[in-house]
Structure formats: structure tokens, C-alpha cells
Symmetry: C2
DNA sequence: GCACATGATGTCAGTTACTGTCATCAACTC
DNA sequence: GAGTTGATGACAGTAACTGACATCATGTGC
């Protein structure tokens, strides 16, 4: 059993999620995660900047996916429609098969304030990226920023609905429903 | 020079802000902060849960101030108007005399992602408290949550404007302007 | 004035997240 | 098959944070 087992990053992610879920985030040491993954503590910190980040790898890809979709939305789309197109593209990541994994991950985050902080800054970065994408479409400020933040609110509503809904509804449908809800609220 | 110098919490806060501003948050140790305040490291952690929290003491009072004002807003006020009343009450804390202090504090936060995370979760808690206050006024969901989050966006815009504006404009006026901006955006 | 309770602080030992440095080993190149 | 490259191990070190217990200032009852 030499070094160089494949996918060290993935093994660390899986080991961390398992342990966080089993015994809690704070009760889990990085040494334990690394051991379960067959690696050392030092190697963990070569793959992840800190103990929280192991749960958030992939948020960059999610952001890129969404931003690319916004960039690709038809020029005729209004700002909020462009955001909706972007969010729906996230369905490629949030597919029904991965819902159990997402549920476990979210329950771990919801149980720990430190992890919630990390989640919030990821969403804030996504909001900033969405605002930039809107500006590239010619949307002026402060509409770009406000629409982007509204988009984050929609994302959260859609994601939570997708998580909690038992049926294997597609994420795109959850986004559609959240947008409809937003229009109702905004029109009142 | 015995123990029991008055206002240990305040001395720790001032020492921390000075050192964070002088040499940076990460380059400052809790031992150094405590020493400047004439206390020990252990005592620091009796006053503050962690090294970040020393910059955020008072956010609970701010939240209470705003929520109380929302509760006290006239029954005839619309949800967003009630939020505006609440945010304007924060002018009691953000008075022009404290602007230099707020500027220093914000520059420290803006220079460190960890501190930004803490700021974000404080704002998220404020948003949750605002949503509860709206529900007490009979506002239904999801309008309560969405209006509360919009209120946070308004707060951030107003606060940043108040910070950056050289004249000693009152915070209440910044809130008024931000609300007007929001109405313009929403009506477009 | 004095014993006593109370609360804030000091002291000290310990755990753990995180970093710097250098050695080691697998795979790839020529 | 020697050298290069990149990932990992080993080890020492710093600093955030915690638990346990001692100590001291202050207030209270007498």
C-alpha cells in the first residue's frame, strides 16, 4: 500500500463529511479525517486551506457554472430573467442523485455557526460575481447589485425547497417556483 | 496598580482595534492585545468568545435598537416603511462623532476575510430578527423574509454611504436616501 | 473593624488548528 | 536508467482556545 492512492482530495472530502455527520464538526480532528483518508494531517492542509473548506470545495465551479449561464442568456432577457437562467444551470450540479449527499452536508453546516459563516461568504462572493455578470450585460448600478442580491435570496429559497421536498423534483423547477414567488411578492 | 482597573471589556476592545489597525489582524496575537490592556490572555477569552468577536461587541445592542424601533413603528406603516423606521433608529449608535472609529473598524474588517465572515453572520442574524419583527406586525411569509433581506441591503448601502461621505451627514439621512434608491430600482 | 461570600482575574497545563522546512518516494521524461 | 517533477511524510513550532484551580478586590453582615 504505497502512497499515491488516487483522488486524495475526494477521499479527504468524504472522510470529513462522514466524521462531521457522525460525531459533529468540532468533535472531529483533522488528524482523524486524514487518518480515515489514509493520509497525514499535513497533507490535509495541502489540499484545503482550513478545516471548514473541505465542505466547500466545488463552490467555485458552481459559481462559474452560474456566471457562464448568465453570460450566455439571450440579450433580450431582463436582469432577473438572466439571473434565473444562471441559477437554473446549477441543476447540473444539484441533480436528484446527489440530494442525499447535499442533505447530509447541509445538516452538518446548519449545526455549526463557523460553517455557516463560511457558507455566507461563499454566497456573498457569488452575489458579487452575479453583479459583475449583470454589469457586463449593461445593467447599471445600483440595479446590478440589488438584482444580484435578490438572486441569492431566490437561490436560497430554491435550494432549501429542493432539499426539503421529498420527491425528486429537479432543481430547475425549484428555481422557477422561487422566481414566481418573488414576482408575487414584488408586485404586492 | 492592582487588578480591577475599570472597564476591562472596553480596554480590550480599544487595544485590539489599535493593534489590528497598526499591524493587521493576523499579525496581532491575543497576548499582545491583553498586555496592552493590562490583562492576561485568559481574561481576554472570558470577555470575548474569540479573537474576532472583540470587534463585534455591540451588534446585539444595535439589533435590539433596530428591532425595537420596528416594533414601535405605526401600525399604518408598510413593511418596508417599518424597516426604514428601524434602520433610522441606528442613528443613535452611528452618530457623526463615532465616524472615525467606525472607519478604522471597517478598514480592519475589509482587510480580512475571517472578519468579513463574522460580519456576514451578524447581518444574517439581524435579517432574521427583522423578519421576526415583521411577522409580529402581521406580515406573511415569504414577504417578511424578503423584505427583511432587502432591509439589510438598504442598511449596507446606507452605512457605506455614511462612512464614505466626508461631511458629517446623519445616518438617518443616509437611510432615507438608500430607501429612495431602492424604490427607484424596484419601480424600474 | 472583621469574617465571609462573591466575582473577576491570574496561573498553568493541555489540546488542536495551522505553518515552515526538509526528506522521501512515485511517476514521468529523455 | 539517471534526472526531474510533484505529491506526500516527518517533525518542529506558533498561536488560538479551554479547563481547573489559586488568588485577590469588593461588598455584606455582624
Amino acid at each position: 500500500m504505497g502512497r499515491w492512492q488516487p483522488d486524495a482530495t475526494g477521499r479527504l472530502q468524504q472522510a470529513a463529511l462522514e466524521l462531521y455527520a457522525e460525531r459533529g464538526y468540532e468533535q472531529t480532528t483533522v488528524a482523524e479525517i486524514s487518518e480515515r483518508a489514509g493520509l497525514t494531517e499535513r497533507t490535509f492542509f495541502r489540499h484545503f486551506a482550513d478545516k471548514r473548506e473541505v465542505l466547500f470545495r466545488g463552490s467555485e465551479e458552481l459559481q462559474q457554472l452560474i456566471v457562464d449561464a448568465v453570460d450566455g442568456a439571450p440579450a433580450s432577457a431582463t436582469p432577473i430573467e438572466a439571473i434565473a437562467v444562471g441559477l437554473q444551470a446549477a441543476g447540473a450540479i444539484f441533480d436528484p442523485d446527489r440530494r442525499p449527499h447535499s442533505l447530509t452536508r447541509q445538516s452538518v453546516i446548519d449545526a455549526n455557526p463557523g460553517l455557516q459563516e463560511r457558507e455566507l461568504i461563499k454566497l456573498a462572493r457569488l452575489a458579487a460575481a452575479l453583479a459583475d455578470a449583470l454589469r457586463r450585460r449593461g445593467v447599471q448600478d445600483p440595479a446590478a447589485g440589488l438584482t444580484a442580491e435578490t438572486g441569492i435570496a431566490v437561490f436560497r429559497v430554491a435550494f432549501e425547497h429542493w432539499l426539503r421536498h421529498d420527491s425528486d423534483q429537479h432543481f430547475e423547477d425549484s428555481v422557477r417556483e422561487a422566481i414566481a414567488e418573488l414576482r408575487t411578492v414584488a408586485a404586492s
